[in-house]
Symmetry: C2
Subunit: 114 residues, 2 copies
DNA sequence: CGTTCTAAGTGCATCATGCATTTAGTCCGC
DNA sequence: GCGGACTAAATGCATGATGCACTTAGAACG
């Protein structure tokens, strides 16, 4: 599927992952996949991380890795936590919208299992 | 919020709306808002509709309105129904991903009310 | 007629993305 | 110590989606 996932939700998921554990790019990618976000290219991920740092939601430091070159390790900031909270509210309304879809949709295709 | 809603979900919602009732652009816009999709510009809506017609998911005919100029009235096709079904499956995995987010998120911000 | 309203469509600039490529450092074998 | 393989991050370029403003076009109505 092209353009998956929708761009709006990448940043919140990154913030969530980093808030749970400071991490560098590759590790964040793993976290995202564990959360169900596939198809994220590294170029998009790196650019999003740099942007979020510019926005003040993340901070980074260079740290040597056990193998290979140094990694840029990201930490969430206070502003990042605040953004994460408002993103959570956004995702919640988002989910409500999808629920409304299934409230009217009567076809096959994995009806909401609750 | 810029770029809301994510582009992937506009088409499914349009298909759902039209599958419930054949409609023209303005009426579809109303349906979308009723479903919780705000911030859709008419230019995006019209272009998406034309694209979906090219893709064979919708058909259109010109019909005179009770007032004003004729409207292009859209109807869903068989291919459209099939697409709607697979879109529903996609939205379902999408919702599951958001649920996974809230499974790890412990902050404030409207925790899932279930 | 010409003004106003409804409905649809378009031009242009901007932004996000994917793909391929680049930079740069580390590790390892020889 | 040197070349190749690998890890990590970043960038160049082309493409595609979007928003905003503007345009087309017919209908209603005085």
């Amino acid at each position: 599927m092209p353009g998956w996932p929708p761009r709006d939700i990448l940043a919140p998921f990154i913030l969530l992952a980093v808030s749970l554990q400071r991490a560098h790019g590759y590790m964040i990618e793993d976290s995202l996949r564990a959360l169900g976000l596939f198809g994220i290219t590294m170029s998009t991920l790196y650019r999003t991380l740099r942007q979020m740092e510019k926005d003040g939601f993340l901070e980074s430091t260079w740290e040597p890795g056990p193998t290979g070159p140094a990694r840029r390790v990201y930490t969430i900031t206070d502003a990042g936590h605040a953004w994460l909270d408002s993103s959570a509210a956004m995702l919640n309304t988002y989910r409500a919208t999808i629920d409304r879809f299934f409230g009217l949709y009567g076809g096959p295709g994995d009806p909401p299992t609750r």
